[in-house]
Symmetry: C2
Amino acid sequence: MLDFVHDINTKVLFGKGCIEKLPEELAPLGRRVLLAYGGGSIKRTGLYDTIMKLLSDGGFEVTELSGIEPNPRIGSVREGVKLCRERGIEAVLAVGGGSVIDCAKAVACGVFFEGDPWDMIRTSRRRMKALPLAAVLTLSATGSEFDDSGVISNLETHEKLGAILTPPAVSFCDPTYTFTVSKYQTASGSADILSHIFEGYFSRTDDSDVFDGLAETVMKTVIKYTPTALDEPENYSARANLMVCSSIGCSGIPEYGKRGTGWPCHAMEHELSAYYDITHGVGLAILTPRWMRHILKKDPTVTPRFARFARNVFGITEGSEAELAEKGIDAIDAFLRSVGLPTCLSELGIGEEHFEAMAEHANRGGRLERAYVPLTKEDVIGIFRACL
Amino acid sequence: MLDFVHDINTKVLFGKGCIEKLPEELAPLGRRVLLAYGGGSIKRTGLYDTIMKLLSDGGFEVTELSGIEPNPRIGSVREGVKLCRERGIEAVLAVGGGSVIDCAKAVACGVFFEGDPWDMIRTSRRRMKALPLAAVLTLSATGSEFDDSGVISNLETHEKLGAILTPPAVSFCDPTYTFTVSKYQTASGSADILSHIFEGYFSRTDDSDVFDGLAETVMKTVIKYTPTALDEPENYSARANLMVCSSIGCSGIPEYGKRGTGWPCHAMEHELSAYYDITHGVGLAILTPRWMRHILKKDPTVTPRFARFARNVFGITEGSEAELAEKGIDAIDAFLRSVGLPTCLSELGIGEEHFEAMAEHANRGGRLERAYVPLTKEDVIGIFRACL
């Protein structure tokens, strides 16, 4: 087991109705609050009204930053920073999914950053000084409610970059807020959670038993409950388990003690989203099985880990190690095809015209050459092509 | 899944040599430090010298509280509180196992408590105002390095009571510090970790999949690596996994979303330790299989959970649910007998003379009547008798 540092001081309130504690938890953080949210969904569901009433009754002064995009853009961050400075904002309250929370993190840090927020995103490699942040989660996917990072897009430069920013001080995780999440977004969220686990699970370290076991637990839970959530959107057990998996998935915990892997699928998917603004989880669902098949073929030394995946996640026990490895990939491929997401890039109208540039960019600094199975630019292009 | 609150803001530095970061992590907490430790073991291993040099080079002013007992006593807490007040201590540094860390927690809180520390222990049900606390772990067992509670004994009143105190701000978890832990203490520690998991795992809630999966992972890991640590005391993978299991075991996380169980084995064991000052893990190892057999017989509705335990922890799949349940208990019983600990109370010279009073006390306020399988005073006496 390799060394690690656990440093997530986010308080999580989990369960139906936990929002009632919002005023109590927010008061120590600040009275002048920036309320950050996305499109109109929180207005349609009534959550906006609930929160505004709690804030108003609690004597908070609210400034709104609305319209934050999926794949949140640097323009929204700039707007939020400006609002915070103009209004003397003391705390940021994000209400939404990972995009809103990521944007809110960047705003909270951007207030203290001298210079353009995009420079902050491009350069941040450690936690930043930030306004305190509270998050109300409405989508189980990115895990932004329980980590310190955020991903911001710049459509002008075709860049989608992750940065270390700040963790929420407190996150409100009420599974009932995800009852209204569409099948498409539910499935995309599950693909995202699974990918966060895959990225760390397929590693060269084999003696981090506790964290590998946690990773397998999260995978099994997502695979068990995603179909339930699709069939019965108001199944509390399903939504609750998926929400917990979201928070653990990107926390870094499932990777503790393990050698870094370069998160290759995320590196490749960020290129897809940056060029085509597609849903992150959809890109991951398309890429992941192709990446698995590519690396298993390229480097058979990873066979035992894929065989373990087949055994421990899908309960497949019949066959040689090589057969198990293939069967595990077949099983996750079948699962990802079963949840109703697009299964190839051509379905999204994406062709190969930018693959060269995307592959070059995904591998900038040679970072994919340090991945679990090192990937060259040609490998990346090959994986993109297999996704067509 | 039931509601829960996750609120553990302890930073954990994990790995060989992490102590080098002690000055950096301690400096923001305070310069005048109370160094709390137990017997001479940290002097024999050289850890005391290492820490004193780091503190001295870092310009810290050190006051020592030494000789903290296993099953730490209220007298040590009183002494620590007095030292803190006299010397204007700003931070407490605990170096040891759970007993030392528990005592240090009580000292850190006791400084701000008006009145005798034993009254604080008797009454505390929520986090207390406390001096900041850092912990250097030398024994994988209690999980005190990653929770907010502590257990303090009062030999005069035959009481051993748990209290909510304060979590460490930072814990240093270096598995190599446990290389010198004896077989007896290693096995006792593993029994303690397992018991922390059992106490939450055997619950009436069946849809907290993620946390049940985590619990099963910890159990499997302890069962896998304890024999390794006994055979090869310097096996880093074994010591590291056990240390991680220690921290997770008592954190409350494996119980998130689950109905409370009353922690019946701990309630009973605390009576054994309070009357006979035995090693906590030993008491738990003796009690647990007897408790399991007792409740399975008393309430067959728990059969499916015990069958799940057999399947998911021991991989036992042959037999009816009732047979699986029995086989699971047989398996954990055999494991606990295999690690070289005393297997019954008579081996420890304990007879039944105090069982009546101990059972009465374990069940004070009728708390064991709210356990997973409710226990009467007669049940508790029956379980104690089965341990003879």
